[in-house]
């Protein structure tokens, strides 16, 4: 199967519940097969055997009937830049892209389903949908899991649940997360306080881009910390409620800005658009900040004629591997900044 790098993933659609703040929802299930060591202790023959076995399983009629056609890609057959693009589209982890050994990814055509093979666990099954659709993502992941379980013997213990390479995932093996755009909480200096409170309700927060607590582009990812002792529905419900609360908080901060700093706000959005539409050199950090500003403009209906789908597309297409792929060559950081500015102008011009 060849990789269609030009297509946009389902999560990038930019529409759905709470789409003015919540960019995407993800549900990930960790699964391992009985009778095999976990990937960190597997030899090459076992890795190859597992990929073959999983490749067979996805061809079963039950899988097709339940979730449609799934296709397996051997990472060995992809160029490094292609693997990196899968990371930039959030379809695989950096560990899978860069790791040694035999690895594979299974994708559905709309990229709403991706299954990593031989990552930290034998299978990391994930469903990624736009906006706040955690329940839908869980139902889809549950269906994929059921269909695969008919073909594969998963390691399961009556007390500990699904057995995983790291005890932080044992039980449900479920990690649910939402990606939120919280510029007003950052601008009004509430983000630190609000996000710190989340850890008390079992929710972890990190910036999507950037290191540690810094979130370039004001995009945050929140996820459940605990995987054992609660049902999947409880975990999904809890994270949905937390996400809605966060979105409400952000909306309040936005309205406050609109009331108290209307001209500063509109000026900021307008300037960001002006720079993005005309700049000739754009660093990744500057681009992410300006994209956050125009995203806010779109979400608050200050800026017309642009939709969130385009901004999601921009966010992905200005990443290093995508730029190199589009340019067809490796580039120095400076060349990348020039290509990034050109790509932004091109996409904004439609």
């Amino acid at each position: 199967m060849s990789l269609n790098l030009d297509r946009n993933s389902k999560w990038m659609e930019g529409s759905g519940p709470q789409a003015d703040i919540v960019i995407s929802s993800r549900v990930r299930l960790a699964r391992n097969l009985q009778g095999l060591p976990f990937p960190n202790l597997m030899n090459q023959a076992q890795e190859v055997q597992l990929i073959r076995q999983v490749g067979q399983a996805i061809l079963a009629p039950g899988v097709f009937q339940s979730v449609g056609e799934l296709k397996l890609l051997n990472l060995r057959e992809l160029a490094p830049v292609e693997r990196q693009i899968l990371v930039e589209k959030h379809l695989i982890s950096p560990d899978l892209a860069e790791g040694k050994g035999e690895k594979a990814v299974i994708l559905r055509d709309d990229e709403a389903i991706s299954i990593m093979v031989n990552e930290e666990d034998h299978l990391r099954l994930q469903c990624l949908l736009p906006a706040l659709m955690l329940h839908e993502a869980w139902r889809l992941a549950d269906a994929v899991d059921d269909a695969l379980e008919n073909e594969l013997d998963f390691a399961f213990d009556q007390e500990k649940g699904y057995l995983t390479a790291c005890p932080t995932n044992v039980g449900t093996g479920l990690r649910a997360s939402t990606m939120l755009h919280l510029p007003a909480l950052v601008l009004t200096k509430q983000a630190g306080q609000v996000l710190a409170a989340l850890t008390k309700v079992g929710v972890a927060v990190r910036g999507l881009y950037g290191e540690g607590t810094e979130a370039q582009g004001n995009i945050f990812q929140v996820s459940n910390q605990i995987t054992l002792g609660r049902s999947e529905e409880e975990i999904i419900n809890n994270l949905s409620v937390v996400t809605v609360r966060l979105a409400d908080q952000e909306r309040e901060a936005r309205e406050l800005l609109r009331k108290q700093n209307r001209w500063q706000l509109e000026d900021r959005v307008g300037r960001a658009y002006g720079i993005l539409a005309n700049a000739r050199i754009l660093s990744s950090q500057e681009a992410l900040q300006l994209l956050s500003d125009i995203r806010l403009g779109v979400e608050m209906k200050i800026l017309r004629g642009i939709d969130q789908r385009l901004i999601n597309q921009l966010m992905v297409r200005i990443q290093p591997a995508y730029l190199q792929f589009a340019a067809g060559k490796e580039m120095t950081p400076f060349e990348r900044d020039v290509h990034r500015a050109a790509k932004v102008r091109e996409l904004l011009a439609g």
């Binding site: 060591p37 976990f38 202790l41 830049v81 059921d146 008919n150 605990i226 054992l228």
Partner: protein, 169 residues
């Protein structure tokens, strides 16, 4: 020559980097070279493993002999270093030391989520019986005796199925 990153200061450092197996060479100023140093690698498993060192309760309970998983040979000490278990059987063979860690990480030790149809053994049936018992009690309280009798029969049927399987795994 100017620094390739900031294009402001003169380049004085020559950096060779390997990205995805491809070698790239860049000329940078001192400032940019320092900023571009690889970030410290933060590994969650290692971090978790490190937490163990600071738990006096756990150290006291730790048995002195080295135990190994009888399936894959991993010792608890090796897990302690990497934060990764070797195989599904490790959960069973290393339980004496692993269970307290799991309780501390997860705040629980009993799975309450999904049960796979095939590998789940009789847990699915036991969950079903639990659910029916709750229904039965409700029906009795509501004096819906006819419906309650049906539920009771269904529970008996399921219990006899458990009995045939020997009750265990």
């Amino acid at each position: 020559m100017l620094c390739e990153r900031c294009q402001e200061r003169p380049a004085s450092v020559h950096v060779t980097r390997i990205i995805n197996g491809n070698k790239t060479e860049v000329y940078l100023c001192q400032e940019c070279a320092r900023e571009m140093q690889p970030q410290l690698n933060f590994s969650i498993p290692k971090f978790l493993a490190g937490l163990l060192d600071y738990d006096p309760g756990l150290e006291l309970k730790a048995p002195p002999a080295i135990e190994r998983c009888r399936q894959c040979g991993l010792s608890y000490e090796e897990f302690h270093q990497t934060g990764r278990l070797g195989c599904p059987e490790c959960y069973h063979h290393l339980a004496a030391r692993l269970d307290p860690l799991i309780r501390r990480l997860q705040g629980s030790s009993q799975h309450r989520g999904k049960v796979p149809r095939r590998a789940g053994g009789n847990l699915r049936v036991r969950r079903e019986i639990e659910k029916l018992r709750g229904q039965l009690q409700q029906l009795v309280e509501q004096e819906e005796f006819e419906k309650a009798a049906q539920v009771r029969d269904r529970i008996r049927e399921l219990e006899s199925r458990l009995g045939e399987q020997g009750g265990g795994q």
